[in-house]
Symmetry: C2
Subunit: 272 residues, 2 copies
């Protein structure tokens, strides 16, 4: 058990959802986005930092089939940041929140060594049943949205001192709000891809193997912070879900079928 | 306008309460408690750090006449912390939450240079009207609970390299949950004393002067992080409020009467 797992087990609680805690028809999610942990300050403009901090938080709610409504913002700000920088950061946060129908309603600000953006998102479930990670059955089809690999490519370019465009998935992930909202009733289970498929796939298949339809590149397999949706669909619903994806203009990839074997993939990377 | 004010004004929103944001009958409050900003790690045991981080967050809710029910916990943990230290920290957080009827229902953990405890408290208002800072009228009586000065004395001892007992107000503030709940209907406005009376008094009197009943020491006047309640009571209700304080075994100090003059006290310290 690693340190994070050990801490989480200290706070285990039955109201814990996967990425958010559920109380009544509301979902509460909370993530910190921190300089030198999630990004280097020279990689992104303050507006991009604000935008990405907000988007990765909204993703938790949207992945559970909830509509984010309110955000509480905790900011840890280094002394040397200019008012202009802070203003740009706040514009990034607010514009991104507004794009997803969310309002920033409060929070607090402190001085800190590193830039810290700590967000709590308050969301309403779109249906009585949230979309969760558990539930996959043998024979179900595993799918993911969009195109994977862009985030790690952007990250590697940055790590090598290069520059990336603001369209890079590392800067601007795509959330699939409408598609999830419309198709959740046909989906067995789901989550967003934040740690990379190699790490997130065993979570959604509950450590069962997948007979792949599709050969993935190493980049597609290990790229984290994609925030595309990884979903499991009963075979009888797959046509409806594909249709809905088309309506929402979301590319839906049929990755494979869950089989009655233990997964061979695990950890952050695997050979296949 | 200082930096914090400038940031807050970037996010000004009508759902903002004083220390918490109000949505329907719920209050959401969020505060960060950070090593080297709010405490030095050698000042407090990990259990005391957890306890104080929780108590200062619960105070925001209780001061608005709300009952805290759930907490979301964001932890930023330095690499070198032992599992034992983290375990003790989590016991402090959980025990303090439980004492006030609150459950930790989720959150996230990251690596960071300094210990960061970022809490979001979800509370239910005890009555339709929250207790807020605004509303004081000329002739109203300003009161505060308990004994002030202990927090700054503890802080100074620590800053001078001394040790303080776990009963020190700096380590263990006292929250006045029951008293506020029972007497809120007779109280005009209220807040907790977090920045010190010299700084918080003008907020509650809306920059009006107070004709003091009582001479305060410098320590009583400037001590922050007390988390005692500062309340404003219409004269016709003062007996009821005093009785309720007695029932709840809370010392209630009548500080003075609000008069039709501008306050002379302001900032973090004043002479009088």
């Amino acid at each position: 058990m690693d340190k994070e797992q050990s801490i989480i087990s200290n706070f285990k609680h039955n109201l814990n959802g996967d990425d958010g805690a559920i109380i009544g028809d509301m979902v509460y999610s909370k993530d910190m986005f921190v300089e030198d942990i999630h990004f280097k300050s020279h990689w992104l403009s303050p507006k991009q930092i604000g935008k990405k901090a907000m988007i990765v938080n909204l993703s938790d709610a949207i992945a559970m089939n909830a509509t984010p409504k309110y955000a509480l913002l905790g900011l840890g700000l280094p002394k040397n940041l200019s008012n202009k920088y802070i203003k740009e950061l706040s514009i990034g946060l607010k514009e991104c929140a507004a794009r997803y129908g969310t309002q920033i309603i409060g929070g607090d600000t402190i001085l800190s060594n590193k830039l810290i953006i700590s967000l709590t998102i308050i969301s309403y479930l779109n249906s009585k049943k949230p979309l969760i990670r558990n539930g996959a059955k043998i024979g179900d089809i595993v799918c993911y949205t969009g195109v994977l690999g862009g985030s790690i490519k952007g990250l590697r370019t940055l790590l090598n001192g290069g520059k990336i465009s603001s369209n890079s998935r590392f800067v601007t992930p795509n959330l699939r709000q409408e598609f999830i909202k419309q198709s959740a009733k046909w989906i067995r289970s789901g989550m967003d891809i934040s740690d990379g498929l190699a790490s997130d796939l065993p979570k959604i298949t509950q450590n069962r193997a997948v007979k792949f339809n599709k050969k993935l590149s190493k980049f597609e397999f290990i790229s984290g912070e994609e925030y595309e949706m990884l979903i499991v669909v009963p075979p009888k619903n797959i046509k409806r879900v594909l249709n809905q994806a088309k309506k929402c203009r979301v590319k839906l990839n049929l990755l494979g079928k869950i089989i009655n074997e233990r997964a061979k993939f695990h950890g952050k990377f695997t050979h296949f």
